[in-house]
Amino acid sequence: METSVEHIREVVFDVLRASPNPPAALSDATSIVTDLGLDSVAVMDFVMEIEDRLDITVPLDKIAEIESLGDLVNTLSTLKVAA
């Protein structure tokens, strides 16, 4: 399976665009809490969706460190390479 950062970013953006209230603009700088307005459980639900798309496991303590979509993409790509 594709492991490039670009591919992972596309998966992340895809999941967000498919959500009931798709955000207007997305970039690496988008803050998950302030820009997307996701609460702690919504963030975990969002990551769960991405875990399945990429077939990886993102431990909850890693999620806690993530603030922006760029952070998320970096974390996912590190995990994906290690998997």
Partner: protein, 405 residues
């Protein structure tokens, strides 16, 4: 930037509800009269949101045991069981719990929250994996955070999703520990425990079941969902609380695991906190006795739960999936939930508002919990109040529809 600036948006919302007089998070009962009634000012309120499932808080034998222990043994233990010693009652209650569950070991904690903190943080080590149901209670998530294990979340009540995640972790070293609940506290739904037990067996994982809302509620002897589902032997650890069906405060874990008692000197939430006071222990012990001796309480609870659930469903409310003692009406959003809640309270009915992130899938809930102590008339009165407010707020069809139904 001031220390509390980070709370500014939350504080604005809180103060808005406070000034509108509809803040469910600051309710004070001036006097609680019984398991089902209280006074706010001089208004009598019907209580439908207390988790007092068996209504044992005013049971004569329970109260008498607490009074006797209070007088004989004093108001508090003033210390932890590890640093300052156990009272005989602590051991007696642990033996009674082990006997009730047919297990070799039991451990008592000072709260139900600490039972989850204490067990999960201790049994899962640095290289182990905790797999938590997405809808598990905050205490389970906090217990996972307190320890050093890797934590994974699986889709609520979805054994296939658990299997997929266990498969993903198959090559990772360390033990896998799955955590689910008996009855989930927000929507009152139960776990498909037999299916989870099968997945657990398939992967050689361990299974922890939190029966906080199902102890005294489900199972032929009231032991909870594991008993009802016939999979007690597959449940390696049962965690529970004294503060719901047993009417006290405290938590416990029972298990047959070899060497279980070592947790007493490993589990920080057990070691570094004061042990439950004698009156609480004595009351809980007697409540457990009542739970075992009076299966009729469980029957009455089930009857009341069905009466409320079917009554609300029949009046057109959208509810959780199963008629259990937790009955939640799904509201269109938080503002309606607050309005509904405050109109019910004004009419004399106390319920709970549950909001995200405490609820699954971003749901705003008006949550009720039924007691064996409710009379059918009280449930009917609650249903009438629900229907009146539901019509006022346009959530259900007008009266005519009900007469026809």
């Amino acid at each position: 930037m001031a220390l509390f600036d980070k709370f500014t948006p939350l504080r604005a919302a809180y103060e808005r509800h406070e000034s509108a007089g509809d803040n469910p998070f600051s309710v004070v009962f001036d006097r609680v009269l019984s398991p089902t009634e209280a006074l706010i000012g001089n208004r009598e309120i019907l209580l439908l949101g207390t988790n007092n499932y068996l209504g044992l808080t005013y049971d004569k034998a329970v109260v008498a045991s607490a009074v006797e222990a209070l007088q004989a043994l004093g108001s508090g233990t003033t210390g932890s069981r590890i640093a300052n010693g156990s009272y005989q009652g602590h051991r007696e209650l642990e033996r009674a719990l082990a006997d009730f569950y047919g297990r070799r070991h039991a451990m008592v904690f000072s709260t139900g929250y600490q039972a989850n903190l204490g067990i999960l943080s201790a049994i899962a080590g640095k290289h182990d994996h905790l797999l938590l149901d997405a809808d598990c209670h905050a205490s389970i998530y906090d217990g996972a955070r307190l320890g050093y294990a890797q934590v994974t979340r699986f889709r609520h009540n979805d054994p296939d999703d658990l299997r997929a995640r266990l498969r993903r972790l198959a090559d990772a070293p360390g033990d896998k520990i799955v955590v689910v609940e008996g009855i989930y506290s927000m929507l009152g739904d139960t776990a498909p425990l037999a299916a989870f037990a099968a997945v657990k067996r398939e992967f050689g994982a361990y299974l922890v079941v939190d029966e906080a809302h199902s102890l005294g509620v489900l199972g032929a002897s009231g032991r909870g969902l594991a008993e009802a589902a016939g999979v007690e032997a597959e449940c390696d650890f049962i965690v529970g609380t004294f503060s719901k069906s047993l009417g006290g405060v405290g938590g416990f874990c029972v298990s047959d695991m070899e060497g279980f008692d070592i947790l007493r000197v490993v589990s920080r939430p057990y070691m570094f906190t004061a042990s439950p006071p004698p009156a609480v222990i004595a009351a809980t012990l007697e409540a457990l006795h009542q739970l075992r001796a009076r299966p009729a309480l469980r029957q009455r609870l089930a009857d009341n739960a069905r009466r409320l659930y079917n009554g609300l469903a029949g009046r057109g409310f959208t509810l959780g999936p199963e008629p259990n003692p937790v009955v939640s009406a799904i509201m269109p959003g938080p503002e309606v939930a607050f309005a509904f809640w405050s109109r019910l309270l004004a009419a004399g009915l106390y319920t709970n508002v549950s909001l995200p992130p405490a609820t699954p899938r971003g749901l705003a809930l008006l949550r009720s919990s039924v007691s064996a102590a409710h009379t059918p008339e009280q449930i009917d009165r609650a249903l009438d109040m629900f229907a009146a407010v539901g019509r006022e707020l346009g959530l259900i069809a007008p009266e005519r529809a009900r007469a026809a139904g």
